[in-house]
């Protein structure tokens, strides 16, 4: 049944979400065309529009997947979804899989747009995108510290975890804020719950960064340039107590919290859906 839920979830969301991407990509095409045609004023104008559109495209996708979760499970449509012969956790898993897919797609569109903007700007200076990339890699010296594919993989993983973490907090808040005890508050129930959850998670993140013994030590050379990155078994507590003269440690505790928090909040959301569902 999970497969059927995912299929119908994509079917329901495919009419709204990709439309936002298409508008953004069309604008990127127009932007690139202005460079090829050499219309400077139009290039500047479309580039500003494009950057605004690309950023709002990610925000709009978040709004669409979050409102879909609320409307489909906790408004009138919930009367259909919660009476299906499926486990509540399958309802949740299907929503998470489809929402994460759309969010990843929206970030890929954002990335694509930035590449188009950079390529267009480079073309104006008679440079190519690959030329700019080589200049950046050599100039920053990043390839001597970490392999580029590994860095890309870590950034992608971090992005994925971040998306899950945001959705976990929001879905949990909607599920908890829609239980019987918040019925009188209406839509304010999930919103206030989210504000409380978000604030609590921020405090926890701070504690995790300082206290969890996991961090990245960055080593600086004599002229202050970055010469190395190492994983270390400490957070930022020692650095805060005894600030070093050069280099330092960035606590990775918040990443640990993002992973554990996502798992914990999704699990709690599933429990609430199974045990405390109460549609108005």
């Amino acid at each position: 049944m999970l497969g059927q839920l995912i299929k119908h979830e994509f079917r329901a969301t495919r009419r709204a979400v990709p439309f936002v991407y298409l508008i953004t990509l069309a604008m990127a095409g127009v932007n690139y065309l202005t460079v090829r045609l050499g219309i400077q004023w139009l290039f500047t104008l479309t580039m500003v529009f494009l950057i605004l559109l690309a950023v709002s495209e990610v925000i709009v996708t978040y709004v669409l997947v979050i409102s879909r979760f609320y409307k489909n499970l906790y408004s009138n449509e919930g009367y259909l979804m919660h009476t299906l012969p499926v486990r509540p956790k399958d309802l949740l898993v299907s929503k998470v899989i489809v929402s994460v897919t759309w969010m990843v797609a929206s970030y890929l569109v954002l990335l694509g747009v930035f590449l188009v903007v950079i390529a267009a700007a480079a073309a104006q200076n008679h440079q190519t995108l690959s030329g700019l990339y080589d200049t950046f890699i050599q100039g920053s010296g990043i390839s001597q510290i970490i392999s580029v594919p590994l860095a890309v993989l870590l950034i992608a993983l971090y992005g994925l975890v971040s998306i899950c973490y945001v959705l976990a907090q929001v879905f949990f808040s909607i599920a908890l804020g829609s239980t019987a005890r918040f019925h009188k508050q209406g839509i304010a129930g999930p919103i206030v719950t989210f504000l409380v959850v978000y604030f609590a998670m921020q405090l926890l993140a701070l504690a995790f960064i300082v206290l969890v013994p996991l961090g990245v030590e960055f080593v600086q050379g004599t002229s202050g340039q970055l010469t190395g990155l190492h994983l270390v078994g400490e957070g930022m507590l020692r650095m805060l107590l005894q600030p070093p003269k050069t280099g330092g440690v960035i606590g990775l505790g918040s990443v640990v919290l993002m992973v554990l928090g996502s798992i914990g909040l999704f699990f709690a959301t599933g429990r609430i859906m199974a045990k405390q569902t109460s549609l108005r």
Binding site: E77, Y79, T83, P85, H183, S278
Partner: protein
């Protein structure tokens, strides 16, 4: 053996108790009217049985099981609200029901759709309230379910449509199934009831066979209802 067994069921919203110590035993093969004034707990009871409310106290057994995955497969529920997405067309809704309910009969659904003169490709958002209600009734009655829970199936429709809806309900109801039908329009519907449950004042007021009620009080169920729940209005 009872198909639905309620034992000391309690459900409240905040300080207000809607269902108070309700115990009932409902057998298969009956059409039972669930009657009572506004706010007496009819919809709440149906929602609990359908699995839409899980924070209640007391015991519920549906075919011997607690409300959950198994019981949701047995129940065909028609809520008061429009639960279909506005973009859906009848053909999309049929695909959806066909994928989730093995007892959904698409041929029967299409036949009822023709009977109600609805278009297979008309989106729900372009349908009137009455058409949406017919659409949902089609989905519910096209299932060969063991339990039908209908909450105000004729709430927002004209008298002619009420009659058509009742015909559809009777024609497609499985003889060995149990149907619980909540309504305010008792006069229009009581002819199809085998039994009636009267809920009021957070409690069970009456549960008996319709013939017994008529014999005992010498009145129709509608008249008995008006007498039990009469309220004085000064003009």
């Amino acid at each position: 053996m009872a198909l639905i067994e309620l034992s000391h069921l309690n459900k409240g919203f905040g300080q207000q108790l809607v269902l108070n110590d309700l115990s009932l035993s409902l057998e298969a093969g009956k059409i039972i009217g669930l009657l009572g004034p506004n706010g007496c707990g009819k919809s709440t009871l149906l929602k609990i049985l359908a699995g839409l409310i899980s924070d209640y106290q007391g015991e519920i057994r549906i075919d011997g099981q607690k409300p959950g995955l198994y019981t949701k497969g047995l129940i065909s529920f028609l809520p008061e609200k429009t639960y279909l997405s506005p973009w859906m067309r009848p053909m999309d809704a049929f695909d959806f029901f066909g994928d989730f309910y093995i007892d959904f009969d698409r041929r029967k659904a299409e036949e009822m759709l023709r009977q109600f003169q609805l278009d297979l490709k008309q989106p729900i958002k372009n349908m009137s309230k009455g058409m949406q209600e017919k659409m949902q009734l089609i989905l519910v009655m096209a299932r060969r379910a063991r339990i039908y829970l209908l909450d105000e199936p004729m709430g927002g429709v004209d008298p002619a449509t009420r009659s058509a809806i009742l015909d559809v309900v009777l024609k497609n109801y499985q003889e060995d199934a149990l149907m619980l039908l909540a309504t305010h329009l008792i006069q229009d519907v009581e002819r199809i009831f085998d039994s009636a449950i009267l809920l009021g004042f957070s409690q069970l007021v009456m549960f008996d066979e319709v013939d017994n009620i008529r014999q005992k009080y010498g009145k129709s169920v509608d008249e008995v209802f008006r007498e039990v729940f009469k309220c004085s209005v000064s003009l």
